[in-house]
């Protein structure tokens, strides 16, 4: 395992505005992810775990007085919008609790969508097919998401996250919407990916799932402990 720091969140703050009220969620959370590591962020509901993951993944912008998200030493949010799009498309893969697949597209099309967006369509299609087959969905390639079980949907989402060969997977409660057995299967997939050298940041509220990672950090009151 390399000790090089891949992703770093420094003094991250995030406040949501709900009507007239300001709700601070993160109060200066800092986190470092080394290449090839599996960091589990453990926290209770509403502790800001997902928010932290969104900030790290370039999906949400930290507050103006906040610190930075550094990917390979470069500030993500100080780059151009185009560079941020490339970061989301190429450098990281996101896995959501509720899968977030496009209902009109087939399993194969969903999995290859980032490659199509990144304009590496043909190689992406092949890779998507390989990944899906590897995840046991070879017989489901041309099915629509509504025809899949929860576990199959999540495996499709993982294939989508990996199709552009990112250096890091950000998983937001990847088993949160699945039964124990199916969740175990998904964790098995993540384990294999980690063993292949993929860095993973996983958010969960379940200590036993968090324990699958190489490192566990706790998020309490908007701070990493």
């Amino acid at each position: 395992m390399s000790d090089a720091i891949l992703l770093q969140g420094c003094d991250l703050r995030k406040t949501y505005v709900l009507g007239r009220a300001e709700v601070p969620v993160l109060h200066g959370a800092s986190i470092s992810v080394e290449e090839g590591s599996w960091v589990s962020i453990l926290g209770s509901s509403g502790s800001g775990k997902s928010t932290l993951l969104h900030l790290l993944g370039g999906l949400d912008r930290p507050d103006a007085d906040s610190g930075q998200v550094l990917y390979r030493g470069q500030s993500v949010w100080e780059q151009s919008q185009r560079a941020i799009n490339v970061y989301r498309n190429n450098d990281i893969g996101f896995v959501f609790q509720f899968y977030h697949l496009l209902p009109e597209l087939t399993v194969l099309e969903n999995a290859s969508l980032p490659a199509m967006i990144g304009e590496t369509n043909e190689s992406g299609l092949e890779r998507a097919e390989t990944l899906l087959t590897q995840f046991g969905l070879g017989h489901r390639l041309h099915h629509k998401p509504r025809e899949l079980s929860g576990g199959e949907r999540q495996r499709t989402a993982i294939a989508r996250a990996l199709v552009n060969e990112p250096s890091m997977l950000l998983a937001d409660e990847p088993t949160g919407n699945l039964d124990e057995e199916t969740g175990g299967e998904i964790l098995g997939v993540l384990k294999e990916l980690h063993q292949d050298g993929l860095a993973i940041v996983m958010v969960t509220h379940d200590p036993s799932i968090a324990a699958q990672g190489t490192e566990t950090v706790h998020l309490r009151r908007g701070l990493i402990e």
Binding site: N85, N89, I117
Partner: protein, 601 residues
């Protein structure tokens, strides 16, 4: 790349794009139909005016212009003038041949005395004549009339056997032909010896020459006698068919060129006083249809000299007031108008100016000592107008109406735009989560907006194309649709009742599951079909419904030419509105943080 795939999937996997296409198509069709009809109406008003009166008209009220032949020579000598023709315009009473009983019906008619040689050169008189050839029934009626009219001569000509044969068959035909074709012409031709048959044929030239009815119309003569060509609606015997053609009722029994009419006109003296009415019995030679109802309903054409005689506008001697036996001069023949057609490409206003200068020349060149001088150019009664000026009182309100419709339709355009915008707003709103997903995996804002622009482009183009097609279909068939709406076939009501029953059955079957939607849809469907059936029965009970009343709108049919300029503008407008409608909400959605968009439900 991914945008195209997603666009296709959005279009093919959901129902709402079809609704959007249908909405766009209906809006486009609606605008095309209304604008086309209004524009066609105005064009018909304008072009019919030109068709009937040439380009420029020289008019001098009731007194008429003397020396009009000299005037026409002067006018035609100008290089911008292609043809001229004199007109005598007046009103009269025409005693029609119907009904069968003695008290014949009279019509008030506008009588135009025309010169059959020059009138078709200025107007489209020849094209407007209704009867180009005679039909089989009409020929049989002519044969019956000819034999009955010359009964004595014909019967004398024939031998005993043929005489009885002809009497029997002509009498039978006169009774039966009202209801069904009898083939009298062939029956008699086959029976009679060639010489006798030739004798009968010689009684009316229309029996041998099919096109003679047209030639008689053009020459305003029937068998050598001056004849009338009347507007198609003057006679009540002509009935408009669903396809827009005309048929004569009772199997051509009331075909006007069989008969004669009595025309009575009131001549007016120089002071405007009425002189003794003049009457003349004249045969009908043909009928014409200009397409302008008010003209086809009231106008008849007679030979110029007949009208001049009836209105006392023909040449007359002027006698000494103190000694009526002494002729002191000649009052030349007069006409009330001279119609002028310009050469191709000559502007009508320029032509009017040329006609005015020619008129001045004509007036100035009148020999010194002319007994009856034409009116000078500035005379209040003398009018030299373009056909547009002459028709202004008629076309002006129509133009105003069209502008009003255009203004109203610019509001409808906004309604259409709002409708399209709201449809796309709801489509994009529903797809906000998809936008969040796409953004979270690296799609740029522009590329996401482009998905929806492509989507809108396809819907817009499909809707505009279908709408144009629908608009074209409705506009070109608007008269048939009008006929069907005005007198709907009973089969529509029967089909509606059957569909209503099927809807009720479907509703009962589907509502057993406890779902509420089938009940709502079934109830609405049943009400709709019941309404259709009721409306059909109601219209039929009223004996038909006339929406486009020719007597109100002046034209016998609804304009049915598509205004392609309006169609193109409307179609492009619809596509642009679709693009705007999609661009605004999709840009708004693309601006939302991916995380917020992902939470969208």
């Amino acid at each position: 790349m991914y945008q195209s795939k997603l666009t296709i999937r959005y279009l093919t996997s959901r129902f709402i794009p079809l609704i959007a296409v249908a909405a766009v198509a209906l809006c486009v069709a609606l605008v095309i139909v209304v604008v086309s009809v209004m524009t066609g109406f105005l064009n018909m008003v304008q072009s019919s005016g030109r068709t009937l009166m040439g380009d420029v008209v020289v008019t001098y009220g009731l007194s008429g212009v003397p020396h009009y032949e000299r005037l026409m020579d002067t006018l035609i000598s100008h290089e911008s003038v292609a043809a001229v023709t004199p007109i005598v315009d007046g009103w009269g009473l025409l005693r029609m041949p119907y009904p069968d009983r003695d008290a014949k019906q009279s019509e008030t008619v506008q009588v135009w005395g025309i010169d059959p040689h020059s009138f078709p050169e200025v107007t489209q008189f020849a094209e407007s004549l209704q009867w180009k050839t005679v039909s089989e029934n009409q020929r049989d009626w002519i044969l019956i009339d000819a034999i009955q009219e010359h009964e004595h001569d014909v019967l004398t000509q024939l031998n005993e056997e043929d005489r009885e044969f002809v009497i029997e068959h002509v009498n039978n035909a006169a009774r039966t032909l009202n209801f069904e074709p009898v083939g009298l012409y062939d029956t008699i031709r086959n029976k009679l010896p060639e010489e006798d048959w030739a004798y009968i044929l010689a009684l009316d030239s229309r029996l041998t020459q099919d096109g003679d009815v047209l030639a008689q119309g053009l020459s305003l003569e029937r068998n050598g006698k001056p004849a009338i060509v009347s507007g198609l609606h003057v006679s009540e015997g002509n009935e408009r068919q669903e396809d827009g053609s005309y048929q004569v009722i009772r199997n051509d029994y009331w075909w006007l060129p069989r008969y004669s009419g009595t025309l009575t006109m009131l001549p007016v003296d120089a002071q405007g006083g009425i002189i003794e009415p003049e009457s003349i019995v004249m045969p009908f030679a043909n009928e014409f249809m200009s397409g302008v109802y008010i003209i086809d309903d009231t106008r008849i054409f007679v030979p110029l000299h007949v009208a001049q005689q009836l209105l006392h506008l023909d040449e007359a001697e002027i006698v000494d007031e103190d000694d009526p036996t002494e002729v002191v001069g000649v009052d030349p023949a007069r006409v009330t108008s001279v119609l002028v057609r310009g050469e191709e490409g000559v502007d009508t206003n320029e032509l009017r100016a040329n006609v005015q200068s020619s008129y001045l020349k004509f007036y100035d060149e009148m020999p010194i000592g002319t007994f009856v001088m034409p009116p000078p150019l500035g005379d209040p009664g003398l009018v030299i107008q373009t056909w547009e000026d002459q028709q202004r009182s008629f076309t002006g309100p129509v133009e105003k109406e069209r502008e009003l419709m255009r203004t109203l339709f610019s509001i409808i355009y906004l309604v259409v735009a709002a409708l399209i915008l709201s449809i796309f707003w709801s489509i994009v709103f529903e797809k906000t989560k998809d936008i969040g997903i796409l953004r979270s995996i690296g799609a740029s804002r522009i590329s996401v907006v482009w998905v929806f622009l492509q989507f809108a482009l396809v819907i817009g183009v499909a809707g505009a194309t279908l709408g144009t097609l629908l608009g074209w279909l409705i506009t070109t068939n608007i008269n048939a649709i009008h006929e069907a709406l005005g007198n709907p076939p009973i089969s529509i009501a029967i089909v509606a009742i059957i569909l209503g029953c099927l809807t009720i059955a479907w509703m009962i079957k589907r509502s057993r599951t406890g779902d509420f939607l089938p009940i709502v849809l079934g109830t609405l469907g049943t009400i709709l079909f019941a309404c259709i059936a009721l409306v059909v029965f109601d219209i039929r009970a009223m004996g038909g419904l006339v929406i486009w009343d020719a007597s109100v709108y002046y034209f016998s049919h609804i304009p049915n030419d598509v205004d392609w300029n309006a169609a193109i503008v409307t179609s492009i407008g619809a596509v642009v509105f679709c693009l705007i409608g999609a661009a605004i909400p999709s840009a708004k959605a693309a601006d939302i943080d991916p995380v917020k968009a992902l939470r969208h439900e």
